[in-house]
Symmetry: D2
Amino acid sequence: MTLTYLTPLSLDQQIAHGVTPPQPLAVADRVRFSELDMLGHVNNTRYFEWFERTRVRYSQEWGISHYIKQADAPRIVIRSGAIHYRQEMLMDEDYIVTCRCAAFRTTSYSLHQQIWAGGSLRATFDCVLVLLERDRSGRLPIPTAVRTRFTEIDGAHPES
Amino acid sequence: MTLTYLTPLSLDQQIAHGVTPPQPLAVADRVRFSELDMLGHVNNTRYFEWFERTRVRYSQEWGISHYIKQADAPRIVIRSGAIHYRQEMLMDEDYIVTCRCAAFRTTSYSLHQQIWAGGSLRATFDCVLVLLERDRSGRLPIPTAVRTRFTEIDGAHPES
Amino acid sequence: MTLTYLTPLSLDQQIAHGVTPPQPLAVADRVRFSELDMLGHVNNTRYFEWFERTRVRYSQEWGISHYIKQADAPRIVIRSGAIHYRQEMLMDEDYIVTCRCAAFRTTSYSLHQQIWAGGSLRATFDCVLVLLERDRSGRLPIPTAVRTRFTEIDGAHPES
Amino acid sequence: MTLTYLTPLSLDQQIAHGVTPPQPLAVADRVRFSELDMLGHVNNTRYFEWFERTRVRYSQEWGISHYIKQADAPRIVIRSGAIHYRQEMLMDEDYIVTCRCAAFRTTSYSLHQQIWAGGSLRATFDCVLVLLERDRSGRLPIPTAVRTRFTEIDGAHPES
């Protein structure tokens, strides 16, 4: 099965390309020359751009934020994150970045992200995000429709 | 016609997505959130990564260099370039970057590159590249097969 | 003489560090590991971030724009640019980026920029910038105080 | 006291600029325009370049690796890391990035890094690094001189 880039992959496509188990959102991309460092592999710092790109897509698809300049759009702020590097990435490798909500509270939620290439897990990133008012005056509750999606699509559970 | 990302587009695909006239190499990608700057559009410096990505692909497809660490692979060095910005790029826009050899000499060649989005030309980049020995001890002639490709596919002519 | 980083260098400092002739604005920085590519030298695309950084500083020091979100601040748009690479840059090298207005018209101006390291010129960038209304509704004239500065400090002349 | 950029700060300089307690290595830099994203603050991914830059400097100063292409230089690989964002960073802010060894074993060590600006802690990064043979054939022990430095300068203790 040909890999489709920059478009959410179906569960079947994910399985065909080695993402096991498949995730709520998975998007493929390809290593750019400018992402390699002097050691000939993808620089550690570049993984964060890949995770961010898929996280932004996730926010759009799940209806959390469209990242357009709207006066009333919530501001998504990352509070913390933990990365694990498992295997280096090389020039021209195809990779798939995933995103899944692992847990959520009233105004914050945790995402679990993975990078897969050639059927092996290359890195994971777990992070905690908070919804703020556009002017940062206070926190915003996660909308009900998003909470429902976290539960029904991602299998995440609310924490108290 | 659906846009296929990160894969060389056929002439028909190029025409369907507004690249006129179609170019020898054209590859589609999509604006990343991390490429936007404070002004809400793609930062001027990011275009050069896009042009480079397609130039590297062109070098691979045309057989000039595979950008893998080989003792005998030629080193492609950019000597100069001229960019023209015509219209800004925004969040999530699909774009197509092209590459075509415009002229060549014994050890150097000129490429003409374009960025298209939504049927309009957003930027162009014209640059001059030189082939060097891996250890930079001297210049290397462009291989005959590449010269033939420059002429027959790109329609470029040798300059003296 | 010790090199002072990220602070405009005096004419004497510039001369002591090989910038000849000295320029209206010159700021020193140092190559970062993340700016090197697989070939072990600074990636071609990174030079544009260096030029931009000094150009932004120049805009602030010359009173053209302070790059803060003000409703009435002009928008500086780059229209075109020409880069010349003369000698590669390596890990940890100190470099000095300069900026000088070369010519100006009513609503546009040309800047000449250089990168120096170890007393040798590594790259130059010549670009044309335009002042626009914040909402891009039209062009803005260069303020008289800036025109005076272009002439008296940079030695630039108005073109018609 | 004037802030000196890109040069290891003395303990007195660190204290004068609000780094409390002072760290074994602390280096100042300044936010670049190209590091801001659409939200007008430094993009989350850019912090990792800042941490990396200081970590590379630390590796050089402590004698772990000089990051020059040597056949026998060890390869420093990052295995995992945890970031905490505490306060956003804005245009032109001066910041200080620190590095300290928190603990070490035979072939791996943990670093604690901080970003300070205007006397407040903006972010922290804790990571685990491993020393590998250049050809990745196996792990390398931390040299005795480096272990001594970890203990005597950083106050780190070996773990078993």
